[in-house]
Amino acid sequence: MNLKTRRIAELDRVIHEPGRLMIVALLSAVEQADFLYLQHETEMNKGTLSSHLSRLEEAGYVEVVKTYRGKIPQTLLSLTAEGRQAFQQYRRRMKEAL
């Protein structure tokens, strides 16, 4: 196995999945965003998006807060410090692998 292939193999699998990568990249640029915004930007359906968010939450990369905006339920999402660090490391490793 050459160095490049090994570097790619070492990438964080939780983040490397395309759907989750989109979510993490979007959240990395903001303080907080809601479920609707992510759905609008990623064009995923609710089920797929929820499933990716659950996986990221399990890994400790995303914090999910259920709240209300007036009378409307709102799900607020943000990257945790661990999530930010993991994403930065992922980007660095991707660049190194090229």
Partner: protein, 237 residues
């Protein structure tokens, strides 16, 4: 082949990370706010330019109240549009305070300060050169505006490049207008008591044209946004 895929992935990540910043003006509210602010200043400047020197429009307290009301209106107006129209349709985003945002604010602040100093210096020492003296700074500030517009807004929406071009052309045209024409716009009494008419004329032209362009562009964005989006159904997430 794999390397190509990874390069594409890196580019996609970088582009995704810019999307939330560009989302800020998805509904045109940023431009509408800017347009209302500039036209508000233009209206006050016009009232000052076309009223006797002892009219209330020349008083500092009136200026402060005017600006305060304008800023409050724009702040709460934008907030209301975001709260009742944008967030229910395409989602809510809270932005991080990044270094680049602070830098942009700093550069814009410096550019405005340079303009202010140029006006003040000219009026203080009563420098009476050609009309290029004041219209050129106005045009330069205009071009700084264009750069910010291109960087923060036009990148997201292709047709906004035409708006940026229109603003750039207007800046150059204002700089090239004859002194007499600019002076006539300035009216009988200067917007700032000590400024010659042509200076307030350049200022008035600049903010009126830019305000109108921002308002039209923001209005078009808002209408397009309303047509393309619908409020989300209230179901479980």
């Amino acid at each position: 082949m794999q390397e190509h895929d990874e390069v594409t992935k890196i580019n996609q990540i970088e582009s995704l990370m810019k999307r939330p910043v560009l989302y800020n003006n998805i509904d045109g509210v940023g431009e509408l706010g800017m347009g209302f602010m500039l036209l508000g200043f233009a209206l006050l400047s016009w009232l000052q330019a076309n009223s006797p020197r002892n009219a209330i429009w020349h008083r500092m307290d009136v200026f402060v109240v005017w600006v305060g009301l304008m800023l409050l209106g724009i702040h709460y107006g934008s907030k209301a549009i975001k709260e009742y129209i944008t967030y229910p349709r395409t989602g809510f985003v809270a932005y991080r305070k990044l270094k680049s945002t602070r830098l942009s604010a700093l550069v814009l602040g410096c550019a405005t300060a340079v303009m202010g100093i140029a006006f003040a210096a000219r009026s203080h020492w009563d420098i009476d050169g050609s009309h290029w003296g004041m219209t050129t700074p106005a045009a330069l500030i205009g071009l700084v505006f264009v750069l910010f517009y291109m960087f923060h807004i036009a990148r997201a929406v292709p047709w906004k490049w035409a708006v940026a071009a229109a603003m750039a052309i207007c800046s150059v045209v204002i700089a090239m207008l004859p002194a007499g024409v600019v002076g006539e716009v300035g009216g009988s009494t200067s917007a700032v008591a000590t400024l010659p008419e042509r200076n307030s004329g350049a200022w008035l032209l600049f903010i009126t044209i830019y305000g109108t362009i921002f308002l039209i562009s923001g209005g078009i964005s808002f209408v397009l946004y309303m047509r393309r989006t619908q409020p989300a159904a209230e179901t479980a997430e």
